[in-house]
Assembly symmetry: C2
């Protein structure tokens, strides 16, 4: 098995841990949040600004890149790193979630999934093997297996069938990846909906395959935060300690704290960037909405002491003005703030783990965040 | 009279000239193009990137800033420089053109102009005195007199009446500006539509007032390029050589060359930024549209050797991809390219003037540009 994860510290009172993920484009310290760059760009950010904050691993979407610009273009430009001028690591998802959430048609067969493009309605088939190939063309440092995503409220029988397909696809993905020289690092995705026996079976079965890392899918899909916490904790206990663990689609401080406390190392979410574009920005007192009239004459930065361009140079009053005027700089500045905030937040988390006070940090952070 | 312009070189064969404009926030070498930052931000650009290119004078719109965020906010933040974190010079127009082109109602009276906001339909009155006051609250380094803008095809009588109001307002603006301590530098605006006697009368009458600089308004409003050249040359001959001259609303290489050849020192236009956001970018071979399929596999930069972020880091193929995917970075990169291109273009013009070969530069540039 390719070993890419080195555990560096474990919190004395929780499952929280720090580590180093060694990837083709440099090391990543964990736990780590990954900004989302769907089309090969983190919306509203120069790639240089993303790496200047400190990020060494961002996410791109296989589904989107496969449809546009397409594999021919990506191949001609020697993959996404060179095409998008990003020198650090890229994780790509498998497209399984986008086929489920974005495309107009989804037909799951044992061979693969047939869907219609959300862009032009064209029909496509993705198979586990093809998805590995596409991610190799992209040049991903971490690649995900094609999986079957399901809605949170489906019957047991349906969830079981979906998981069994995911299992078969994971095995085929792995075999194909090995046959083609183990380029990049392939992660399996645990599914099983909100059924504990399926979750357990899924976690154990995927752990038996020598994936360099494992992901938990199918959470943060509309369930309550209590359900999220319950199923996250339940699932994670069956995942091997030695391998990196990734929970897909979470990115608010409260969910990140919940995940870290359960020993999760990686997360991604569009919220930091999307909500930034809408004027919602992170502070230690929770999110604030910059468009509000309360900020009209407010001469203070979003967060005192924050090192982002927005907080170093601009008042909440100016930010409110550019949001009201629908100026591009508004989304640019708020996005940079949110990504800077989350990066620093992860650093505070890592420090608290190294000093065995993660539980205390979590408690006091959330008191103020929800207060 | 406040003397703010120092002539440094005159082309031996045309009226083109170089100079230094000494303004409260630093010197500006002319001829100079001014990027437009309507709401206190150049769309898609960090202010730092604008000044990094070399720009020392940008434009903001009095009409927009008066309506939003409003003078109360601007006053509370000590003006636009501090509010928008821009350390160099700002020129503001008077709002006369926006009242003409944007607002839903325009009622010109001798006292001032009544109009309805294009944002919320609210009614406002602007007088020449009030417009000077607003620009002082903004903290403008160059301020413009309120003028009456007219469509290019109106009858003589109407054009004459509009010019006469503009003349009276210019005098009132000047008197008010002097009474209030000559803060910033007030420019008069020559009008007169497309009637030569009115243009001449207007240029001469405004030259008699001790404005630190003079502008030519009412050109580039839909007339042919021949008409533009004719009326520009005709008007400029009546403007004093010692004062800076500004032609409002032009910003393509061909129009800039025409203006410079007639001894114009300043221009502004939204085209560089607006067309950048739409995928049109400047090259020595004319504008190219990045969205075109021809660029899909194109590994070359927009302009070989250009120092902008787009040309240093990205291929036309990537730029096409992000434009097709409607990503913010597309407009950000193309805008930076266009502003960088125009800045370097002005530097090439200034060099050709210093070396008495402006006419030759203009000819060979346009041959390739139109070729």
């Amino acid at each position: 098995m390719k070993k890419i994860f080195t555990l560096t510290d474990t919190d004395a009172f929780t499952s929280a841990r720090t580590g180093i993920l060694s990837l083709p484009h440099g090391d990543v310290i964990t736990p780590s949040f990954m900004p989302v760059g769907t089309n090969g760009t983190v919306k509203g950010m120069y790639h240089k600004s993303v790496s200047d904050i400190g990020y060494r691993l961002i996410l791109a979407n296989t589904y989107h890149l496969y449809l546009r610009p397409g594999t021919q273009v990506l191949k001609a430009f020697d993959g996404l790193h060179r095409f998008s001028n990003w020198d650090y690591n890229i994780l790509t998802d498998s497209g399984g979630f986008q086929v489920f959430s974005l495309s107009q048609l989804r037909k799951i067969k044992e061979e693969g999934v047939i869907f219609q493009s959300h862009i032009d309605g064209s029909r496509h088939q993705l198979t586990p093997e093809k998805v590995v190939d596409i991610q190799n063309i992209i040049g991903s440092d971490i690649m995900m297996c094609l999986d079957v995503c399901t809605a949170p409220d489906i019957p047991y029988k349906e969830a079981k069938k979906a998981w069994e397909t995911t299992r078969n696809w994971a095995r085929r993905s792995y075999d194909h990846w090995v046959e083609h020289g183990e380029r990049g690092n392939l992660f399996g995705i645990v599914q099983g909906n909100f059924y504990k026996d399926l979750r357990k079976e899924s976690a154990l079965a995927l752990s038996e395959i020598d994936f360099p890392g494992l992901a938990i899918g199918g959470l943060s899909v509309g369930e309550t935060s209590e359900q999220f916490a319950e199923y996250l904790a339940y699932t994670t206990q069956f995942l091997p300690v030695q391998r990196p663990r990734y929970v897909m689609g979470i990115g608010t401080p409260d969910y990140i704290l919940e995940a870290v406390g359960n020993g999760i190392d990686l997360f991604d979410c569009v919220l930091a960037t999307r909500s930034g574009r809408n004027g919602s920005v992170f502070t230690d007192d929770g999110m604030i909405q910059l468009k509000k009239a309360a900020h009209e004459f407010d001469d203070s930065p979003i967060v005192e002491g924050c090192t982002c361009t927005a907080c170093r140079g601009y008042s909440r009053g100016y930010l409110r003005h550019v949001f009201k005027a629908k100026e591009m700089i508004a989304g640019m500045l708020a996005t940079e703030h949110n990504l800077t905030y989350l990066y620093n937040f992860m650093e505070r988390i890592r420090e608290s783990i190294r000093e065995d006070r993660f539980a205390q940090f979590k408690k006091s952070y959330l008191e103020r965040y929800y207060g």
